[in-house]
């Protein structure tokens, strides 16, 4: 196998794009939340950034190979946490809300349990579960890359792992997170080289499934309806989307000016979290939205290049998927605020307020840095799979094609 020269500039570009996004996020968050909430969110977010950056800094020194090998335990922990939430949810839905309320460490927000509350901060295990899933699947494909074209090994087994995790998230009541986890799963499979026809048919199935769930659940049906006609339903169901559109539309090319948003004065709910980019669009205009998109794309491309330089399958899959995950979040978030996608609670990475999303995004960056660091040391030791049913030398996709 030829050894491509290592180029460090992609790491730098990636870090610069993250840096720009974070630097942009903090003043915007202050502007958005100050009139209603004061300094609180700004300070919290600064803390999250510090925690996330510190974590990313330390994560890069951990060998991702080691992490991947042990990722299953991480996934198990995440799944236990999810189960705990699922249990609370089921109890409260089944009419035992009093018992569910007594569960330690969790608190219902808007009627469902998606968050752990530790020391005043919410932690959404689903965010970390995704990362764990990526790690586990990277490890899986690392060992089964030879059989990636086979339905059973390339699609069915990893699909089953992913489906279990998705099921847990879904039972936890978060459809959007489930969908996003599904796209993460598909991304991993795609990057690993699973057959496109499985993935595409799977995607269609997923979309149909989402529609089915949206139809069955009245709350989600209403959300979907309001997504189609936000103005007519602006009094209740379409309120959030319509106000998001109003604030974006107020911005025009150049916006109303920094801190000049009107919609942040309690008109636009969740202005500081999921809908912060709507306020960005109002204050700084289309040009700024364009720049934010550009930053995300730069992050995507640079992280893909970092991944592409990796010396082993784990690295490639891990890096590429994590980069994609972050940008998928951004895409969904922006799609929601401009009315392209139905309203869901997905944050914009590095920009929206929220500890879990900020920390998990930084962990992704940390893992990418880890991949890059291992690559940059230049040592590539094709290791023997220690824990695999694959015998013999490792086969990589493409090799058997040549």
């Amino acid at each position: 196998m030829e050894k491509a020269p290592y180029r460090p500039q992609f790491r730098v570009i990636m870090l610069v794009s993250v840096f720009l996004l974070v630097c942009f996020s903090l003043p915007m968050l202050y502007s958005t939340s100050a009139p209603v909430h004061g300094n609180k969110y700004f300070f919290n977010q600064s803390l999250f950034v510090c925690v996330g950056a510190t974590l990313a800094f330390f994560v890069q020194f951990i060998d991702y190979n080691w992490l991947c090998r042990n990722a299953r335990w991480f996934l198990v922990i995440c799944c236990v946490a999810l189960l705990y939430l699922v249990l609370a949810n089921i109890l409260s839905k089944a009419g035992y809300a009093d018992i569910a309320k007594k569960f330690p460490l969790i608190k219902a927000i808007k009627g469902s349990y998606r968050w752990f509350r530790i020391g005043g901060f919410g932690i959404q295990p689903a965010e970390f579960t995704k990362i764990a899933l990526v790690l586990v699947l990277s490890e899986y494909y690392h060992h089964n890359i030879k059989r990636v074209h086979e339905f059973k090994w390339g699609f069915m087994f990893p699909g089953l792992i992913g489906a279990c995790v998705m099921m847990l998230i879904m039972l936890g009541g978060s459809l959007s997170m489930t969908v996003l986890t599904g796209t993460v799963l598909l991304t991993v499979m795609f990057v690993a080289g699973a057959r496109l026809r499985w993935l595409v048919s799977c995607m269609f199935l997923g979309v149909a499934g989402v529609f089915a769930v949206a139809k069955i659940s009245p709350v989600r049906a209403a959300r979907f309806e309001s997504f189609l006609t936000p103005e007519q339903l602006s009094a209740d169901k379409g309120y959030q989307l319509w106000h998001s559109l109003l604030s974006l539309g107020s911005g025009g090319w150049t916006g109303q000016g920094f801190s000049e948003s009107r919609m942040k004065n309690e008109y636009l709910p969740e202005a500081h979290t999921d809908f912060i980019l709507a306020i960005v669009g109002e204050e700084l205009g289309f040009i700024c939205i364009l720049m934010v998109c550009f930053c995300y794309l730069v992050f995507l491309v640079s992280s893909l290049r970092v991944a592409g330089q990796a010396r082993n399958v784990r690295g490639v899959i891990l890096g590429a998927t994590l980069g994609c995950t972050v940008v998928q979040h951004a895409f969904v978030n922006m799609g929601v605020i401009c009315g392209l996608l139905p309203t869901t609670g997905i944050t914009a990475p590095f920009i929206s307020y929220g500890g879990s999303s900020m920390v998990s995004a930084f962990i992704s960056v940390g893992l990418l840095l880890s991949v890059d660091r291992v690559t940059s040391t230049g040592e590539y030791v094709p290791e023997k799979p220690s824990n695999s049913h694959v015998k013999g030398p490792l086969m990589l996709p493409g090799e058997n094609i040549e």
Binding site: P35, G249, G251, N265, E266, Y267, V313, C338, P397
Partner: protein, 574 residues
């Protein structure tokens, strides 16, 4: 390996670019393409316009010291709203306070407080500002106050027909309120603010202060008006009649000092308001004046012929045929008497003969100069022109009848204006009731000064006429009851039969009295008309004269007029 992964990664990048292109196209559509539409819709959400009303102009009388009396004003009252849901544990405590402060009954308020579904309930309307201030000071949760304005007439039915009233929209519907509506209507102020969703004010975009309407100052004198109102009440209580009209003017300026009518209404009480009560009948109703017309017609003659008031005229033996019809002097046989006595005794025959001496054209022209047959130009509402046929349509009898006030119908203002000319040395002043309008904030004033309409009579005639009219209220005249002790009063009674079923009725009359005092330097002209008094009181001297005297007496005393008949004062004291 590289090739396989690279292809897929390139594909991922391409897909991402595609997705983001779609995304940005959508952003472009929302942000740039729909910018104007969405911006204006957003502005509608966060800007709010608060209208504030100015106060409608007030109506004042002519009193200047110590201060003008308020005849009409706008009262600011409040509606109190409650939101029981937002009161929490204090709900019933607040309930008790509201009951105590607003005087709302327990039964009315309790069900509304108990109903959990109601977001906002009306507690009471028409609450005065001091009570609202008291409630506000207690800073109770869940209470709101809404300002509303209502018109209030502090003197109730005083001059109510002149003032008129306002409709439920706050615009004038009758009288001065209607005629000066434009001036009195306030311009409303407007504050445009940007607000948060919870109505917190963020910034002010535009602020226009409301401007109060102009205040209207009438020539009416509230004390005199109240003497008149009092006396009319007494009159209708004593003498059964259909209606009564009274008006007092200052002959020197044409200013109306008081005007009143019965029946009347109270604009503060809608139940008293019916069309026949709130119409300004002084201006709308016409009546045949009867003998009070003689002062005018004889003046016309005296102005044209070089007669003296001492010249004698044969009043026959109580009956005189003219144009084939008899003219009577109500059973009196005056014989040959001087002209001043024709006036004193109110001889129909003497007056008719004098009128005939100038001819019908001269008489018509003379009476037109007095203002009969045309509107007085008071311009405060619907006014009648009276009925005064053109001379071409007169028959042979007309001149003898018109001159004694038959076959001609006049309004009270027409007669006041004509008598004003006699009292004011022949100068007929334009009647007026609005003295000035004033802008309360700037003090800007538009005045309506006295205007001389025309000169009607020479001084010679008015002086002689005044002397003759003085005798009417003395012994031997028709109206000794109109005599005010201490003052010379010039006046004339009128008793006219009403035209009922194509004939002059012997039962139904209009009794009237016009006069001015003090006779030689008159402060006022006052006219009382009693429509259809009971038969017993059919003469002007019995129905109208006593009321004239009482109002005149109070007015002269109020105006501090020096008595010009000192002997009598001492007589009375003795």
């Amino acid at each position: 390996m590289r090739q396989g992964f690279r292809a897929r990664l390139v594909l991922v990048t391409t897909l991402a670019l595609m997705f983001f292109s779609v995304l940005l196209a959508r952003f472009y559509y929302v942000q740039v393409h729909r910018h104007d539409e969405l911006l204006s819709k957003a502005q509608k959400k966060y800007t709010s316009k608060r209208l504030s009303k100015g106060r409608r102009g007030m109506i004042f009388d002519s009193t200047r010291s110590p201060a003008p009396n308020i005849l009409a004003m706008t009262r600011v009252t409040y509606e109190v709203f409650a939101e029981p849901r937002h009161m929490g544990a204090r709900k019933w405590e607040i309930f008790e306070i509201l009951k105590k402060e607003t005087g709302v009954s327990d039964a009315a308020l309790r069900p509304r407080f108990e109903n959990e579904k109601l977001v906002q309930v009306v507690v009471a309307k028409g609450i005065t500002i001091d009570k609202v201030m008291k409630l506000r000071e207690m800073s109770l949760p869940g209470l709101h106050y809404k300002e509303s304005q209502s018109r209030f007439y502090p003197k109730n039915n005083l001059a109510s027909n002149l003032l008129g009233f306002v409709s439920h929209t706050g615009d004038g519907a009758m009288g001065i309120e209607s005629k000066y509506n434009k001036q009195m209507t306030p311009t409303s102020g407007e504050v445009v603010i940007e607000r948060s969703r919870r109505n917190k004010e963020l910034q002010t975009l535009k602020s226009v202060n409301p401007k109060d309407g102009w205040d209207v100052y009438l020539t009416i004198s509230e004390p005199i008006q109240s003497f008149m109102e009092e006396e009319l009440d007494r009159l209708v209580a004593e003498i059964p009649c259909k209606s009564v009209y009274a008006m007092m003017t200052d002959p020197r300026t044409g200013a109306i000092l008081a005007m009143a009518q019965r029946p009347t209404f109270n604009a503060n009480d809608r139940s008293t308001m019916t069309r026949d009560k709130y119409a300004n009948r002084l201006l709308e109703d016409v009546f045949e004046p009867g003998s009070i017309m003689k002062a005018c017609s004889i003046s016309v003659v005296m102005g044209l012929r070089n007669y003296s008031f001492n010249d004698r005229i044969d009043c026959e033996d109580g009956m005189w045929y003219h144009a084939g019809k008899p003219l009577r002097d109500a059973g009196h046989h005056y014989g040959n008497i001087p002209i001043w006595q024709v006036i004193q005794k109110s001889s129909n025959i003497g007056t008719a003969k004098l009128a005939l001496s100038v001819g019908k054209n001269a008489m018509y022209a003379g009476l037109r100069r007095f203002g009969f047959g045309e509107r007085s130009g008071l311009n405060i509402g619907t006014e009648s022109r009276g009925i005064f046929r053109h001379v071409d349509k007169w028959d042979g009898l007309s001149i003898s009848r018109m001159s004694i006030g038959q076959g001609i119908a006049v309004t009270v203002p027409q007669m006041m204006q004509a008598w004003g000319a006699i009292a004011n040395d022949g100068n007929m002043m334009q009647l007026r009731v609005v003295d000035k309008v004033k802008k309360p904030d700037t003090g800007e004033v538009i005045e309506y000064p006295p205007v001389l309409k025309r000169r009607v009579l020479p001084l010679r005639v008015t002086q002689g006429m005044t002397n003759a009219l003085k005798t009417v209220t003395r012994d031997g005249g028709t109206a000794p009851k109109a005599h005010v002790p201490g003052y010379y009063v010039a006046g004339k009674t009128g008793t006219s039969q009403k035209w009922v079923n194509n004939a002059y009725s012997n039962r139904i009359h209009v009794a009237s009295f016009v006069g001015y005092a003090p006779a030689d330097n008159p402060e006022f002209v006052l006219m009382i008309v009693v429509d259809e008094p009971a038969y017993k009181y059919r003469y002007g001297g019995t129905a109208a004269a006593p009321t004239f005297r009482r109002i005149a007496e109070k007015t002269l005393r109020y105006l501090n007029v020096k008595p010009d008949l000192p002997d009598e004062i001492t007589d009375e004291v003795k």
